[in-house]
Amino acid sequence: MAVVQTPKEKYPPGDFAIWIIIYVELVTFALLFLGYAFSRRGDVALFNESQLMLNQTSGFINTLILVTSSYFVIKAVKAITSMSEESVQEANATASRWLLLAIGCGVAFGFIKSAEFYHIFSQGIGLSTNKFFMFYIMLTAFHFMHVMLGSFILFVIYKKTKNAGYSYGDYRGIETGASYWHMVDLLWIVLFPLIYIIR
């Protein structure tokens, strides 16, 4: 029996410009990750001691929240990309429900991260405390801003799905926003073990 292979799509999903942004973001964060990893070599004891002041459980919960939100987002994307001309309303409604869950995850991440920052800052710890906390605050605050922007983007897409704004064959917008959100997830997947676990 002849095996029929599905030809690969040429380009990544979403607008091509978002991928340029994603690649730039990945390089920027890579420099910060490596800055942390190699700076740690200069004073391993200080980094290990400072790391003990972090709440690993909140880092773990936030990781679970982000990977779960990514799952919700891809479910929303699948609802839109697999719609037929007859199921436009239904597909948009399904996607909006998944997106609402994903936005909820983004908000939950924000609350947990804010509580973690409050705990750290209330102890008088800041950017100038030591090199570990300089990297910790820079990396996590920078990432936090990406989560907030990503949540806003998801909200805009959610509003469009609520108005049944995506039609058959028109799903570049949702794919673009979803790609950005998955990048935010990918960055945290590297950040979590690097900052919270490895010692």
């Binding site: 690969k8 040429k10 990945l26 890579a30 740690r40 773990f60 479910k75 990918l186 676990i197």
Partner: protein, 85 residues
């Protein structure tokens, strides 16, 4: 791509995240475990790249960019950790 794979991907990501957390929480992270942790981080990242970002089905040159990023970053983190001070 069948959507049932998405549930498997999510469960794998959650399980590997729990594994990483337990290594830290139970304070059993050691020199040997760091390599394993970096490998599981690569698996998690690649799952996100392939199935959530949807790059598994696109031209290899676009798929390779984030994969190479992941390999380079995690390898250099490993070098920074294991290289003698």
């Amino acid at each position: 791509m069948k959507t049932k794979y998405l549930e498997i991907v999510w469960a794998t990501l959650a399980a590997l995240t729990l594994f990483a957390y337990l290594l830290g929480y139970l304070k059993i992270i050691s020199t040997a475990f760091v390599a394993l942790l970096l490998f599981t981080t690569f698996v998690k990242g690649q799952l996100v790249i392939d199935y959530f970002m949807g790059l598994k089905g696109v031209s290899w040159k676009y798929r390779m960019i984030p994969t190479i990023w992941l390999v380079v970053v995690l390898s250099l983190i490993g070098v920074a950790y294991y290289m003698p001070v």
